[in-house]
Symmetry: C3
């Protein structure tokens, strides 16, 4: 199985599917092609939340503001899975989750190698473009990684062990008694503001103070009226600031990176 | 085959695909993840129109405003197919079409059962979230239903026969001579207002009165100029109020649930 | 493998997938369902750019402003692939690329044939609608073409050799020394204005004059500051007028069909 995740929208990912299908019969599963454009952190967050639910697979992910520059292209081996991506941290948090704690083994893709170039119907193999490495580098590499298998990557002539790779870590919150100071990690499509504060800080409280304002702490959206604000534990286990049938980011005035202070409220 | 239909947008359905792929090699086919949010009626309409074209399959559908409340989670057996969904009527009209008239057999999913919980790459099986049962309940159940088969559902330890289930029926129009009184069932992405009036009421007429205003009755959009209104028979067999290369809902001032009166116009 | 490309958005393509899955186990791959509505030229451009990366396949494509009129429905044989589409030129440029230069063999689909009608779960085969031939004509034909194979299309009772078909060609630019006069072929989702001017006209220049204004000529978006304009060679090999992390169409004031003059600038 090869999964695909990009910020390319439509129809560019279709060329990647074709390139892969020309090289392997592996099953293709789309993760998303609607990641926020060129936002490596948000892409990294979603991959970390989603990929651990998959069986061993080759995960191809491209959010690549540095395409065409000298940023490297890498393959990260994590347990029985491999992640193929630009070397900007995008897949590292996911790889740590998927590996089950094992060390990550990282290879660099020689993007100039003829062996990685995709073939077209007329048999030609054009030089890689400088703007679409999803098609010209990452898709063929992911297909080949799937074919040789994660334990034989040294068989691919265009892979070599990486001396180093770009890491990416999400900020930790500060927890102190019934007070948590964190930040907004991501806003989802529905406007839910996902923080980095672990959900168990809400335990035992019917309400919390969010930046000083009292907000009900609820298990479900339906516990408050449509249009009302709530704090809840999202499906990733973090505190989310939401609105039932509305947008939490607007109601709380929050953007990615904004800090939030949550305090237990016992009245 | 397992089909997926939700109102989750992107990227949440990707976690469901992973959960399923970890439990079964069944083919995955997306119906839509862009159903209008928390709109059970519109989801039910599309499922009823689309699923009868599929071969026998497990159909997973989640539009779930009551997630985390005490609404039940169910599996509906319909002929050789099974539909897995929240117990809010979402899949019942589709199930009736797919069953070919047989009685529906309905099972309740024990959402607290350990057996239904999805497994992550590290072997953990976290407690279900209160906001994402698509991933934590419905996806694993759909995978298991596919594996045991629709005739052996009693083998799944977390299923038991349902005493009752929530039904959902679409309103019938009132037909009287050359006059039909119905309502708008759904507005599609293109702005076409789909009514519950059967298409054959247009037969023999070149024009109809829609709420008193004369509108051409045509077989094709191309029969009127771009921007002009028309009444036509949509692909579901109902009268649609449309605009060629424009939005019928805006031009007719119609929303879902609005009543419409169609009268034959013989001039 | 059967690929699907339409301008139908969601959820209409789901009915097409069902119709196909009822007739064949062929793998389904989505190219896009977000082609600009009823814009045959733009659809034809993307198909020509994308399909040559696929292995031999049946390519189903529907952008069909003439649905329900007397426009024909066709199957175009191109090498080992077949393209199924309305006869409006949509797949002809792609077919020429996929065929590897061989002559195209074209068949007409008898849209009134009972044999082409999709079957529903209850065994019924309703007459084709006048607005959704994607489901009622093209999807079943594509499935059948896949099943009989591109070399035995005469076995399908509803196909007959076409006397003629609608062609579609993209305009050629005028190249003269260091001056190119072309036009905008397509605007992509990101606002990049793709011209018909071959990329090698930028070779050797650090900047070009676009309609008289100096614009940097760069290999990568990252070579200019966010928000700045650039001319680059897109992934299709043509000159694109872009903005780093912005919309080129807005910044250059360009729409599809607008002419552009590019001149080498040697200062």
């Amino acid at each position: 199985m090869i999964t695909l995740a990009t910020d390319f929208g439509s129809p560019y990912p279709a060329a990647m599917r074709g390139v892969i299908a020309r090289r392997t019969d592996a099953r293709l599963v789309d993760v998303s092609h609607d990641f926020p454009r060129q936002d490596v952190h948000t892409g990294a967050f979603w991959l970390r939340e989603i990929l651990p639910y998959y069986p061993p697979a080759v995960h191809l992910a491209v959010v690549d503001p540095g395409v065409g520059t000298d940023r490297a292209a890498i393959v990260v081996c994590a347990g029985e899975s491999a992640l193929v991506a630009p070397d900007n941290g995008l897949v590292v948090p996911a790889a740590r989750e998927v590996s089950g704690g094992d060390d990550l083994e990282v290879f660099t893709i020689d993007e100039e190698s003829d062996a990685v170039r995709p073939e077209r119907a007329d048999g030609s193999r054009p030089s890689p473009s400088s703007t679409f490495h999803g098609r010209d580098v990452f898709a063929p590499a992911a297909a080949d990684v799937h074919e040789v298998g994660v334990d034989a990557l040294e068989d691919l002539p265009y892979l070599s062990p990486a001396a180093d790779y770009v890491d990416l870590e999400f900020p930790d919150p500060t927890l102190e008694g019934d007070r948590a100071e964190g930040e907004v990690l991501v806003i989802d499509d529905f406007g839910n503001a996902v923080t980095n504060v672990p959900g168990d800080v809400l335990e035992g409280y019917d309400a919390v103070a969010v930046d000083g304002e009292r907000v009900p702490a609820c298990e479900t959206f339906a516990a408050v009226s449509p249009g009302d604000r709530l704090a809840t534990v999202g499906s990733h286990g973090y505190v989310e600031l939401d609105v039932n049938q509305g947008r939490g980011d607007d109601a709380f005035g929050l953007e990615v990176g904004d800090s939030v202070v949550l305090e237990g409220d016992l009245d």
